[in-house]
Symmetry: C2
DNA sequence: TTCCCCAAGTGTAAAAAATACACTAAGTTT
DNA sequence: AAACTTAGTGTATTTTTTACACTTGGGGAA
């Protein structure tokens, strides 16, 4: 009960790792922000300090909306990051330094994860973001703070969810072909899958139902369109 | 960039859900603490505010050690809890109120999970804990704050790890019988398992090796003792 | 109109994993 | 010597996973 002096209330933020699927590649939503000297810019995950009267989940929704104008995304908390030096260069960000009540204090962040169809969301920069954009995962720049690490861990978690078939359909169009699901899985998991075996498994899970429509305008045999089976979740 | 006023730096704590296995029941480590009016007591998970120069993982180790004198436990972060009202009755805890730099501010907690052999640890209360004790999960009291919820979520996570065979052996004695492992699994998962099938699976995983010793002093056929196969992890 | 291109769509055999199930063995106690 | 208690073992069945190659039906080009 004696060492009551070392505690300094930290700043707490949320960071959102929003993966976007464009039917071809996996992307992640990044922002570009100016550094204090006005010359350099840096890239980062969308994130900001929480405010006092909101829960963490609500903070994640709000922050994502404020910075990128993206809302209605299912964000899932996956880990808190709290290394004391994880935001050592925060003083380079004048907007943040002036924002913080305890500018000298560290920043602990709670990271959230989401997966969306890129087409459904047109990010628009605001708040302190100079620019918001979808970045292909294959060519990731170096990110601010520990955001590269946060992104890596988010990707691990995302893949884990796919392997256990707990997610994935939400980022397909309303009607989709089995080929599209397979491609999605291949992109997320980063490996090829056998077509017949994949179909067997997906159809057995009964999460999708065939409609009686087919693709049109494709230069090959048109595929049957499926839709999500909303009852069966 | 205009609403820069609502942020108040929260207090950040860690809470440790330490499950203890006594070869028969699953227990959890709780503390008893006095409330401000000195009459009432309450039960809670061991936890405390973090200090400024330590990471979250280190904070969890330190806090557990300070409050319960238990150290060397593998604590795994599993979720942050940040509902703005989750610690509404914190003013009842004078030790905490006086400790906090921002007594008016909310408390966000990062929850950790561990699983140990009860026999290996003799908790001893210190710091603000009046008492530290192992409580059987079957007869849990009502806990402070949202600690019942945190405990529930920890248990879900623990079971998930067992189902995927990612954990469990660490809380057996150095040498153990297959029956003991099975009993452990049955206690954690809360259901009976088929003996032959369970043995097949465990042995196939090659995580344990038979020694050439047997149990002694039991009033039935003595079982072969196994030990952890440390190479194979 | 024919031919070509392209992904869609389909089945089967083999191997591996999961499940269900019941008796004998080896100590201890009485 | 008998009784009690948990250890220890095998097989048949079902389910799941994996590997693998050809035909189909549209659109576009010649």
């Amino acid at each position: 009960m004696t060492n009551q002096v070392k505690n300094v209330n930290p700043n707490v933020s949320v960071d959102c790792v929003v993966f976007g699927f464009d039917n071809d590649k996996l992307n992640v939503l990044l922002i570009e922000q100016k550094m204090a000297n006005k010359e350099k810019v840096q890239f980062a995950l969308p994130g900001d300090l929480i405010v006092d009267d909101e829960g963490l989940d609500a903070a994640a929704d709000r922050v994502l909306e404020e910075i990128t104008h993206i809302s209605g995304v299912f964000l899932r908390q996956f880990k808190a990051f709290g290394d004391p030096n994880r935001v050592s260069d925060i003083k380079d960000l004048d907007w943040l330094a002036s924002y913080r009540q305890n500018p000298q204090a560290r920043v602990i962040t709670v990271a959230y994860l989401a997966l969306v169809k890129m087409d459904d969301f047109q990010p628009e920069a605001s708040s302190f973001a100079e620019r918001v954009f979808w970045q292909e995962l294959q060519s990731l720049p170096s990110l601010a703070f520990d955001h590269n690490q946060i992104l890596e861990e988010a990707l691990d978690r995302l893949r884990d969810d796919f392997i256990n078939h707990r997610t994935g359909f939400e980022l397909l169009p309303e009607r989709f072909t089995l080929g599209q699901i397979q491609k999605l899985y291949e992109i997320i998991l980063g490996k090829e899958l056998d077509k017949r075996n994949f179909r067997k498994k997906i159809l057995k899970e009964k999460l999708v139902t065939a409609t009686n429509e087919k693709q049109t305008g494709v230069l090959h045999k048109p595929a049957i369109l499926y839709e999500l089976n909303h009852d069966n979740i």
